[in-house]
Amino acid sequence: MEKEFSRPDGRSPTDMRKIKAKVGIIPNADGSALFSFGDTIAIAAVYGPRKMHPQHQQNPEKGTLRCDYKMISFSVEDRIRPGPNRRSSEISKVTDWALEPVLLLDRYPNSVIDVYINIIQANASTRCAGINAAALALAHAGIPMKNLVSSVSIGKLDKNLVVDVSKEEEDWEEGEGASDIPMSFTSNGELTHIQLDGRIDNEKLQEGIKMAKEACEKIYEVQKKALKDFAKKE
């Protein structure tokens, strides 16, 4: 007899964890924000546009976005030793690609816009929290943008699709195990980022993508409110 599926923390399949977004948390930065999914907390700071160094990386046609994602040593249970990390390098690049399509950087030739993302506390979906925080920080920094970008992870736990994967769900072992699909959408529904770890068929994947798009629409509303709330205090 098949056991009915339920998420470890009791959420419904389309429920995200409690989302928190706050803009303007780092006074020194040109733009900054915090974004969290439940216990996963990301902070982002933007510095720029500023002169790009080293010179050979300058682009004379437009500004360059340079994202840097790092987890702090005590964000996870097993302390992360400080130092270069391939996973972080890949996530940094994927974050670049997720955000770049909405940025209008032709006004800033030979300049760089540095986005620093640090994960303060990790409970899976860290790159998604990072992208959400970075998008807010870029808007706060006054970078011209066509749109915001919102990001969420879809999981497939055995055969069940869920929105906003937690660490417990990432480690799901029953049946087909866990598949993890982080995605990012612009606020007019274009996909700028997708990754997949696991096993899934085309139909289910497309269903998951639709679920992510709907979740991102909700995230967008939270991001919009965070920016407007910040401006009201100014």
């Binding site: 006074p27 020194n28 982002a44 510095y47 005590f74 302390r79 540095d114 303060i120």
Partner: protein, 265 residues
């Protein structure tokens, strides 16, 4: 490019010579200190400290390791500081530069020399297994005096930390499963305080504009009149006659800091 603006420096020094500072503080006044503990749940202990607009995060992690041969019955301490580019346009990515290295070592000195952590009580099996305590410091916004913010964060995070459960049979640390046991700490708390010299005047807790123009600084850690560690940083010099003033001021302001943070200690 130097961020220092000479006419501002002249004005700051002029004002200091009258015993005043731009933000209305007296020379020995601290900015508001705001503390939050337990801000990162995967750490064994953590704290967020804001002094004015300066902010640091400090986390405690623990693991089991073999002890050093010259201290087979004592746990170990390692303090690391990272000045991350998120916190200031002056910090870059990459291996720690000397300012981060010095900061970590200065905080380490205070905690180690005061014997604040009772390392003999961190022994599980003499010569075989002891607890390592890692104190990791991150700058979140640099508006001057990261040194004292970090030192305060470290002692509060230590006070807030609990030892994880240890499965002796499987020889595994059960992270995420904290015991009720706190890290064994003594009552002699290494309260940090750095004194900065600007235009001949001694001040405490500078903001960034003030810190940029300081000629020299002295960091002390101490408790109840005993000093555990000291470090003079930056170039510059102090007259012998001024040392007495430095030590008196340090003692006075360390007490102020203690009063402000004692609820967390």
């Amino acid at each position: 490019m130097s961020e220092i603006i000479k006419i501002n420096k002249d004005r700051i020094e002029e004002y200091l010579s009258k015993g005043k500072r731009f933000d209305g503080r007296k020379l020995d006044d601290l900015r508001d200190i705001v503390v939050e503990t337990g801000i990162s749940k995967n750490a064994e202990g953590s704290a967020r400290v804001k002094i004015g607009k300066t902010e640091v995060l400090v986390g405690i992690k623990m693991d089991i390791a073999t002890p050093y041969p010259d201290s087979p019955d004592k746990g170990n301490l390692m303090v690391t500081a990272e000045l991350i580019p998120l916190s200031s346009s002056r910090f870059e990515n990459g291996p720690p530069r000397i300012n981060a290295i010095e900061l970590g070592r200065v905080i380490d000195r205070g905690i180690r020399e005061s014997k604040f952590i009772e390392t003999e009580k961190l022994c599980i099996e003499e010569g075989e297994k002891v607890w390592n305590v890692f104190i990791d410091i991150y700058s979140i916004n640099d508006d001057g005096n990261l040194l004292d913010a970090a030192g305060i964060g470290a002692i509060i995070a230590l006070k807030n930390a609990k030892i994880p459960k240890y499965d002796k049979e499987k020889e595994k640390v059960l992270y995420g499963n904290l015991s009720d046991e706190k890290i064994p700490l003594s009552n002699e708390i290494p309260i940090p305080l750095t004194i900065y010299k600007i235009g001949g005047q001694l001040i405490v807790d500078p903001n960034k504009d003030e810190e940029d123009i300081c000629e020299t600084r002295i960091t002390t850690s101490g408790f109840n009149g005993t000093i555990f560690s000291m470090q003079k940083g930056e170039g510059g010099s102090l007259k012998l006659e001024q040392m007495g003033e430095v030590l008196d001021l340090a003692k006075k302001v360390r007490e102020k800091i203690f009063l402000k943070i004692k609820d967390y200690l």
